[in-house]
Assembly symmetry: C2
Homo-oligomer: 351 residues x 2
Amino acid sequence: MAQKGTRKKSADNTPDIRAVAALAKVSIATVSRTINGSPVVSERLSKRVWQAIQHLNYFPNTHARTLVSGRSRLLGIIVENITNPFFPELIQSFEEIAVAHGYEILVSSSNSDPAVLTTCVRRMLERKVEGVAVLTFGEEEPVLDQLVFHDVPMVLAEFKVDVPKVSTILLDYSTGIRAAVKHLADFGHSNIGFLAGPHKLHSAVTRENDFCASIDQAGLRLQRKWIIECDHTLKGGVAGFEKLQALEARPTAILCSNDMTAIGVLRAAYMKGLRVPQDLSVIGLDDISFAEFTLPPLTTIRLSRTELAHAAFDALRQQAEDSNNPNMQREFLVSTSLVVRESTAPPPARK
Amino acid sequence: MAQKGTRKKSADNTPDIRAVAALAKVSIATVSRTINGSPVVSERLSKRVWQAIQHLNYFPNTHARTLVSGRSRLLGIIVENITNPFFPELIQSFEEIAVAHGYEILVSSSNSDPAVLTTCVRRMLERKVEGVAVLTFGEEEPVLDQLVFHDVPMVLAEFKVDVPKVSTILLDYSTGIRAAVKHLADFGHSNIGFLAGPHKLHSAVTRENDFCASIDQAGLRLQRKWIIECDHTLKGGVAGFEKLQALEARPTAILCSNDMTAIGVLRAAYMKGLRVPQDLSVIGLDDISFAEFTLPPLTTIRLSRTELAHAAFDALRQQAEDSNNPNMQREFLVSTSLVVRESTAPPPARK
DNA sequence: GTGAAAGCGCTAACAA
DNA sequence: TTGTTAGCGCTTTCAC
């Protein structure tokens, strides 16, 4: 009845820009300029405005801002699965950097399911993200067309496409893998097996090739039968280990395409009564947080999630903010390095 | 030069509601009604509108929607740390449910740092979340005032406050702990130790009390000196185990306040040459994903992240959508259950 | 340097 | 049942 405004909420604790303007006795334009750091505002007014803002505990409504400015300050990040221990650390870093630069992030998991990916993309589009980091390391291509179509900048991991506004992050596995092989060779291992990832995964193939090259470079002889395709799971690691054990000539060290596979090997070796590292050396790849907690703690090739996150953010931010160069495609390289823990040692003495 | 609109983006692939209206030859109001499922729209027009929408690949701008409707369909979830293996699964479930109901989520980690928490809250406020799930299991209280002040519904875990629009999720540890103690007792253990969490954590105290009660209920004698305060980390578990070992009379089974502590015990036992479960039974609590991958796989008390996520979402959704009952405070109970794996067995035969 | 005013894309009165 | 219109809270011309 006595209500005056049309759709004003009843007891709203959230002041708007008009309230600030009224309190500071300036126009809303001046408040806006002050908040956005426009250099034209005189110090006298700026001070009054900030005081009013403080006094009212005011903060701008991002939706209104987005609507009028066309900038959402929202970035999307799509991972394969947040439950996969590789990703939380990555998301964490990405969030930290983004927030530090005034961006908000939208996280979602594709679960390797194209239908889910479609939904993710749609959600991001609806929220008007300014860029999307697609860190699924796999089956990305098809649905991403939507993002391209809507002109949303992207950054892809290990997947180079020649499209404007789409940058790429390449992973330098070879450095870490070479270091791992050398580490083993230095211990005296000359028989090194490799438990590969599924060949449909681009990264798995790269890792395998890098392994082969490293064996060469170390002056060792590559044994094709010691390279076994697994599936990046613990079970796969167990199975891979067993295949290796069934051979007559067996390696004294196993490098795995990822940590879960290595954890499978640890488990299988334990069940067989083989001691790691005395009887068998094992190395993983990724350095998921659990690698530190295995029995024994796993020597592994660390893929820096921090670097990855930085690269992804930089690519997106640049696209979002550099309007001079709207169609740039950049390329980043993220390094790997060996983390020596306790799953590697010299090979058992020959009898 | 020849540009007509004022601030129109140049080549915009994103049609707006007017484009749809024009194509369908209806007013924008009809388009809006159609999209929002208003029952008043005639089938004839509705069909034309949907066709136009499809044809243009149109989707509404959520920011505009939020601005005018006052509903953001955004929910916040604050966890202690996304890197803590307890949380990803929780976030995953929360996301799934939320998305299934047309909500988007904003995830952030407080890192147990009040300053960071303040930022999280601020970010959520700026984005106008309709509710926040505070699942930090700890030091929440102080900064949350901001949310209360701004009238944002909340749901807290294990932390009951009597404030309108703030619901609580209680965790029923006792069921799981009782089952664990019984499991051990059934094996013949009568000497059971407990590696507690830090007493400043409410949940840790509850777990400890439930343990004591369960020992009683199992008809066992409680040994105070077998209860040791640890800190929920692997190192803490190692230290706790060592304290227990230093005692003259030692337990044959150890229940831990969380899985990381149990993993520490596994490690320490391994280093001492004690076999688990033959020489010592170990039980964890949480059932983090790694628990399945330890050596041996860890018997543990599972705290259902799915249930937790459901409860959190339901609480928030109800607050957001039930405007009849704007100040309701609900209470949820989430259960725990024993997951038997391979770290428990009968005690070693007495000599 | 400052303010008035025009919208950003939508929803929700209100009219017809 | 449908259309017209007034804003949601803000940024950004454009005058002054």
